[in-house]
Assembly symmetry: C2
Homo-oligomer: 228 residues x 2
DNA sequence: ACAAAAGTGTTGAGAGTACACCCATGC
DNA sequence: GCATGGGTGTACTCTCAACACTTTTGT
């Protein structure tokens, strides 16, 4: 058995957990109960355990805060500036997660005053360098939206085309043409019609669709295929 | 001052250093002199120092192995499987670097038998999980080539259009149409003609061009702009 | 004069964008 | 019957892809 004689930083994972709520892109934040940054909002996260894979640590934190599993999770970036944590050297591996809009139930035990959703584009002041992490996550999400199907991870299993379009409009921050959007989605061949209709609204019911691909899909054959 | 009571993994950086040599995409590898994997080839890398930023550590390793600075460097992914290093818990932050083809001089002190370039698509057996890191770097490089100007980082400051095209063909692994390629590059407006010509060849000399943008540039306004 | 790489335009097909009206339902 | 969101087609423009010959130089 060999050992190392090198300084060992602490390693954490931090999560940017996105969902769509009230027609806005929102993120989950936790209010810190301890110094430093006591009382400030921060990204959920925590230390990586001794024999725990990084992604496993991220999934564990996600489960602890939201009770949700089986969500889209992607490693984002690793931040390691020596001064990013006033307590000492802490390197953090950041992840972003997408929660479907019908699964955003928080843990029963969580105190609503301490765990809350905030609009991603108007977050409160954040602890540490979490604002930088958030900004990076937003940029990545917007980019990926254009050439992958990540967007579908934010919707329930069955959804209307208008709901899908709203996800894209919300994240991209601009309006899309309804007819062009629908033609494009159909052309991609990634949706399945169901026989059901959404009867909630007061007006004409919309047909519900289901996403065909299992989890996630790159959308390029030659060049890009999702430039709405 | 606060301290943590958590296990601390060792943290390293590993580099996938690309260049174009003999018309092929190649990577720099180092032969390990110690167990584990003694005698195997491995990616250059090393431990992150106590008060050293991650990117600074990557730049330091790069300088130590190649004597090169001011190159394109990008964080790739952080690998942290508990069993990836038999000596204990080691988390590695991987980077990829692009070295211009006229700057691939190795450190004078390096022993040629211990530091060598290898074709990126036919590497020797690698230590640890370095093959996985290499594969990931290759995938990322190919993707970025299509919507950014990273490819220019592999060329000298002045280059011919044919050389530029060969970089793209080499990395993408397919042939491109000369006329379409040139029209596209011209349309992007990122090159500057020089008055010089490359007189090396035996035949008609080619005009030399210079890359306008300082370092690196995203190439999308609406959708992708670089789908050669 | 010849070998070799440099350089240069046109055409057809497909995708993106802009744009306006009828339909189905609840009240 | 009316208010509201659901649903549908066409025309123009622009970019992509395929394709072959002339030019310039060294030997």
């Amino acid at each position: 058995m060999y050992t190392y004689e090198y300084p060992r930083p602490a390693v954490t994972v931090d999560l940017v957990i996105f969902t769509i709520r009230d027609g806005r892109l929102q993120i989950l934040l936790i209010r810190r109960g301890e110094a430093p940054f006591k009382g400030r909002w921060a990204l959920p996260g925590g230390f990586v355990r001794e024999d725990e894979d990084l992604e496993a640590a991220a999934l564990r934190e996600l489960d602890e805060e939201t009770g949700v599993r089986d969500v889209y999770l992607e490693q984002l970036f690793t931040f390691g500036e020596p001064q990013r944590d006033p307590r000492g050297r802490v390197i953090t591996v950041s992840y972003f997660a997408l929660i479907a809009s019908d699964r955003q139930v928080l843990r029963a035990q969580t105190d609503a005053a301490e765990v809350q959703w905030f609009p991603a584009d108007e977050p409160p002041a954040l602890a540490f360098d979490h604002r930088k992490i958030l900004d990076y996550a937003l940029e990545r999400l917007r980019n990926k939206l254009e050439y992958t199907t990540v967007g579908f991870q934010l919707l329930p299993r069955k959804f209307t085309l208008t709901e899908l379009q709203q996800v894209y409009e919300t994240i991209l921050g601009r309006e899309l043409d309804k007819r062009n959007f629908r033609r494009k989605v159909e052309l991609l061949g990634i949706l399945e019609e169901t026989d059901e209709k959404k009867m909630e609204g007061v007006h004409r019911p919309a047909r519900l669709y289901r996403f065909k691909a299992r989890q996630f899909e790159k959308l390029k054959d030659k060049g890009i295929l999702f430039p709405f």
